[in-house]
């Protein structure tokens, strides 16, 4: 019994816009399966009296005051991008999708 199917890996690859070959799909499906099976072993230890958590530290209500702070220098920011134009980041065209 595998923890993740090859079809699920292919679906995830599509969502992440990764163009994987058939060989890569096999390869990653195997690797991810090992990782997920290892993580699943943790669930075996967790019993009903141990609640699930999304954070390792028992903290709540960590906030900052609503104060504006200086920003990054635009020239520096844009210089780090693969492409820019008109003071904006230039990205490849997006097809068949509108958010």
């Amino acid at each position: 019994m595998t923890a993740i199917t090859r079809a699920e890996v292919a679906h995830l690859a599509t969502l992440a816009r990764l163009d994987l070959t058939e060989t890569e799909l096999d390869h990653y499906a195997q690797q991810l399966d090992v990782i997920l099976q290892s993580v699943a072993r943790v669930s075996e230890i967790a019993t009903a009296d141990i609640p699930a958590t999304s954070h390792p530290l028992p903290l709540e209500n960590v906030f900052r005051d609503d104060i504006a702070r200086p920003c990054l220098d635009r020239a520096e920011v844009l210089a780090a991008a693969p492409a820019h134009e008109d003071d904006r980041f230039r990205v490849p065209r997006i097809l068949d999708e509108e958010v």
Binding site: L15, E60, A68, P92, R93, V99
Partner: protein, 507 residues
């Protein structure tokens, strides 16, 4: 098939055949000083990519920290909408691959919204008088706004046909509140009005709470409209979701156009496709976007970089005590206090003049005069300059002073307008403008008589008519005197003096 099926059925006809169910998702940008998870400023209209930092650019190693004021604003909105405030809730990552979010995910809330299960009562006008409709609220949650994309190349500037896109991340990370209604059924022919009234009421509520200035033209309030139709007695139909509905008028038009489109489809034996549609302000209708059937898969999971929010009862009570009088209660009170109709009050509200009129009345001005100035002369001036009424240099105290001077006869209506013109032009306060422009009603009889004599000499034929008893001809002379005194005379007084001068009695 040669018989052409109609693409739409007229709204009222459609609603005789079908029952509408609508739901609204409203996004409101908070008016905080800084962004949701970082200290970048949120001002609208900045130079592209000047309000960005490692957090809102999603640079490796950066960590978000929650803006306390944004949380407080959300709780206050939840309380004003009669919601339950969660005792404990978390943020979630909404994963999607689109360059408006540089992290490839948006921090939002998923199955643990901060506020849930509330309602908002809205009033719509009907032929039988005002009708109150309760709109139930499913949830109110926090998230971050996305960056702004400009599609370049291609013919239309839209995505299809674009060669590439340019991104400005100034807006990315601005606190955004999403308010989602439960499905609203039973509105019948009022469905478009109820949807519009709900958004208008929300806008007024946000302004009253002071959590957002809600400038719809700047995109600080945006709606998605869900709508379905069903035959009476049948289960709810398949819904469409119309996005980009960004003005009150568009909310109404989006609902109407979907009613008209879906009813034609259903009547012709077709079915409504569950899809996202895009509303176009320019043509007033929507076009088909992506089909929802290619299921969205956002792979939500609890945001590991943020800790849970657990508002204490004490904190919630403190926030509750900061709630102002809510718009609906305020409207009822003011209608009664000012003795005006809901329609007259709506004029004041729509002008953005409610607080100003209220303060002006508190400063001692009659309700009618306060409303007249703010929704007339001053509103025109603000509109001409493209600014809000509140941003004019005129204050309630100025109006009180002018009205006092009108009452004691020192100013007339025309001069009062010139005073405000001067105040708006930055010439000083009311008395300074009067002094520098020499604005005062000429009450000196000798000066007025001299002006009258001059006018009589200039128009001897008119003078003769009046002498012969044609009192209505006096208007020409009064007009000439008002002109020569630059409007600074009391017209009634000029008329009386003129008739006395000519020995004519008013018939």
């Amino acid at each position: 098939m040669s018989t052409a099926m109609p693409e739409t059925i007229p709204y009222d006809e459609a609603l005789n055949l079908f029952e509408p169910v609508f739901g609204l998702e409203v996004h409101v940008e908070m008016g905080t000083n800084s962004k949701m998870f970082c200290g970048c400023p949120t001002a609208f209209g900045g130079e592209p990519n000047t309000q960005v930092c490692p957090v809102c650019l999603g640079l490796p190693g950066s960590m978000p920290v929650v803006n306390r004021t944004a949380v407080e604003s959300t709780i206050r909105i939840g309380l004003a909408l009669n919601c339950t405030i969660a005792e404990w809730c978390r943020f979630a990552r909404k994963n999607y691959f689109y360059p408006d979010m540089p992290k490839d995910y948006q921090i939002s809330q998923y199955d643990e919204p901060l506020c849930s299960n509330g309602y908002l009562d809205v009033t719509v006008a009907t032929a039988e008088g005002p009708k109150v409709v309760r709109v139930e609220i499913e949830r109110v949650h926090m998230e971050e706004d996305t960056g702004k994309l400009t599609h370049t190349g291609g013919a239309t500037g839209r995505i299809h046909g674009a060669d590439y896109s340019l991104v400005d991340y100034n807006r990315a990370g601005i606190p955004l509140i999403e308010i989602v209604t439960k499905p609203v059924a039973g509105a019948g022919h009022l469905v478009a009005d109820v949807a519009k009234a709900y958004v208008a009421e929300l806008r007024d509520l946000m302004r009253a709470l002071g959590v957002s200035d809600v400038r719809m033209e700047e995109g600080s309030l945006r709606c998605d409209v869900n709508l379905s139709l069903n035959k009476p007695g049948s289960p709810m139909g398949t819904r469409s979701e119309t996005k980009n509905v960004n003005s009150l008028r568009s909310v109404e038009r989006a609902v109407r156009s979907e009613v008209e489109r879906q009813s034609a489809l259903l009547t012709a034996g077709g079915r409504v496709v569950q899809e996202t549609r895009h509303f176009h302000e320019d043509i007033g209708r929507s076009t088909s976007g992506r089909s929802k059937e290619q299921a969205e898969d956002y792979r939500y999971f609890p945001e590991p970089d943020l800790v849970p929010i657990a508002p204490s009862a004490v904190w919630i009570d403190e926030l509750r005590s900061t709630l102002p009088e809510l718009p609906s209660a305020k409207r009822s009170r003011l209608e009664a206090e000012w003795g005006i109709t809901p329609f007259e009050l709506a004029t004041v509200v729509n002008a953005g003049a409610l607080d100003l009129v209220e303060e002006t009345i508190e400063a001692g001005v009659e309700s009618a005069a306060a409303r007249k100035w703010w929704t007339g002369e001053l509103l025109r001036s603000a509109n001409d300059q493209g600014i809000e009424l509140a941003d004019l240099p005129v204050t309630p105290a100025h109006i009180a002073r002018v009205e006092a001077l009108v009452a004691d006869g020192s100013l007339n209506d025309k001069l009062a307008r010139q005073v405000f013109e001067g105040v708006i032009a930055g010439e000083g306060d009311v008395d300074e403008v009067i002094a520098s422009r020499g604005l005062a009603v000429v009450s000196d009889d000798t000066a007025l008589l001299a002006a009258i004599d001059e006018a009589l000499v200039a128009q001897p034929d008119v003078a003769e008519k009046i002498r012969s008893g044609k009192v209505q001809a006096a208007g020409a002379i009064v007009g000439a005197v008002m002109k020569s005194t630059r409007g600074q005379a009391d017209a009634a007084k000029v008329r009386a003096l003129l008739l006395e001068r000519l020995g004519v009695t008013d018939a």
